[in-house]
Symmetry: C2
Subunit: 280 residues, 2 copies
């Protein structure tokens, strides 16, 4: 059985304090690796902070992929022989994105630019992601990435699963008001797609917004394996089963009670999903 | 504000005992109407039972839409001036479907034939629904119908919401093993789509299968308004807000924290959703 030990770093990034955030991330990376984590997931905008008041304000902290901070992360991943997923503001020429990168022992594997933007924090100013959702085949399984508000759209995790994801990583910045996401939605995403789901939130306050923690790792059956139990910085760990997430035809009583979770889809009736309807 | 009082009849239908089931349903209809329900929702296959061993066995209980049983229900709806949604096996020429009908004071409004079939009970033998999901404009709001396993597919409720549903009704037959559906999925469906969600399950045992009740009514914000608190027959009631379910652009802090729940969709990236991929 292919199993992977995952860590989620529920941390409190400080807005605009990039060096401080980076050195904290490097420390967390080392701690998690010492505790045998093979892949270590950080929150959205872990290196930069999130509640910027304007795009101009964030200029100084945005970096290319890879840039100085993410290169430092990559070096440590090589040294520790681990994978990581970490979020920051990406600058690409004149364009800015809310991005997460997937880095392995051999360097950058891929990136994801948030495609669903709420009107909140830096998301009010960055460009919406301009590339399709993608799954990356790695030494720790087939990985898809979503960011925060993406999870509110059932399409996001569904697409990654159809693309073959065994695990979906969700770096996030859930503020107060988003409590029902960890309470219901994360488990539902894992359950409906039969995919491991790792949601890593931040804690702390930033410019009037308070973040709610509640990071959690849910296995492909929809059961919570571990959840952060405080509003403090902490690392959560769990071992996920990648092969389980590939069994999409669930046999409960052979020949009497089986669930064709994906074979039973009826895409011939799904046309409206690909139309731009603003619904009221 | 457009509000509607809904009742969910969590009952124990007896397989093959159609007359008994019908007279029970008529009684429940009367009781719920007396308690001011405007629309009364019954479980999947409420008139027929569900765990048939073959299609042949169910021949005697299948009926056209409308047929003798559903006409009796319709007459009482006229008399009581209420709407109802009730499930039974539909016979249409040589074809059979797992169907629910929507009936109002003036008679039949519409029907829905289950499109996503698990391999369980009568669903092993009926034809998969051959018509697209649809929303019906009624005197008690814009209503969409799903049946049981449909809810496991996030596409089902998403499509009904895109079609304008203010409320989604889910007659169901959840057996043991489906506990995570009421625990997580129902609330997630309401929350992600910002739609009222009414899930009505059966109770009791049938040929080795035990049904878990836990019927619930969840409002468009994702909060549970009421849930059945026993494994016995009972009627649950709640008043839902139809206008709330139409506000898909959620303003939490004006100009700073807003959620474009549907305007923020990115259908240009959703093409894979309409492809037939069996995923492992």
């Amino acid at each position: 059985m292919r199993r992977v030990r995952v860590a989620g770093v529920q941390m409190d990034p400080k807005i605009l304090e990039k060096e401080k955030n980076l050195s904290k991330c490097l420390e967390f990376l080392e701690t998690a690796a010492k505790k045998k984590a093979e892949i270590i997931v950080f929150p959205e905008c872990a290196l930069t902070g999130y509640c910027f008041s304007s795009l101009e304000e964030s200029f100084s902290v945005a970096e290319p992929v890879l840039g100085p901070s993410s290169r430092a992360i990559a070096s440590l991943c090589t040294e520790l022989n681990v994978y990581t997923i970490i979020g920051f503001l990406e600058r690409d020429g004149e364009k800015y994105y809310n991005t997460v990168v997937l880095i392995g022992p051999k360097g950058l594997i891929g990136k994801y630019r948030k495609i669903h933007l709420p009107f909140l924090g830096i998301d009010r100013f960055v460009n919406p992601g301009d590339q399709p959702l993608k799954v990356f085949k790695t030494g720790v399984g087939r990985i898809g990435m979503n960011i925060c508000f993406d999870v509110r759209m059932p399409e996001s995790a569904r697409i990654l699963t159809l693309l073959g994801a065994e695990s979906i990583m969700l770096p996030t910045n859930w503020p107060k008001g988003a409590e029902l996401v960890p309470k219901y939605v994360i488990n539902a995403r894992a359950y409906e797609n039969r995919v491991n789901f790792i949601a890593v939130n931040r804690v702390g306050k930033e410019r009037g917004f308070e973040f709610i923690g509640q990071s959690k790792i849910v296995d492909y059956s929809g059961k919570t394996l571990v959840e952060a139990n405080s509003l403090k910085e902490e690392i959560i760990f769990a071992t996920i089963d990648l092969d389980g997430a590939r069994k999409k035809h669930v046999i409960l009583v052979p020949g009497e009670f089986e669930l064709p979770l994906f074979k039973g889809r009826r895409p011939e009736f799904y046309g409206i999903l690909v139309k731009a309807i603003n619904t009221y």
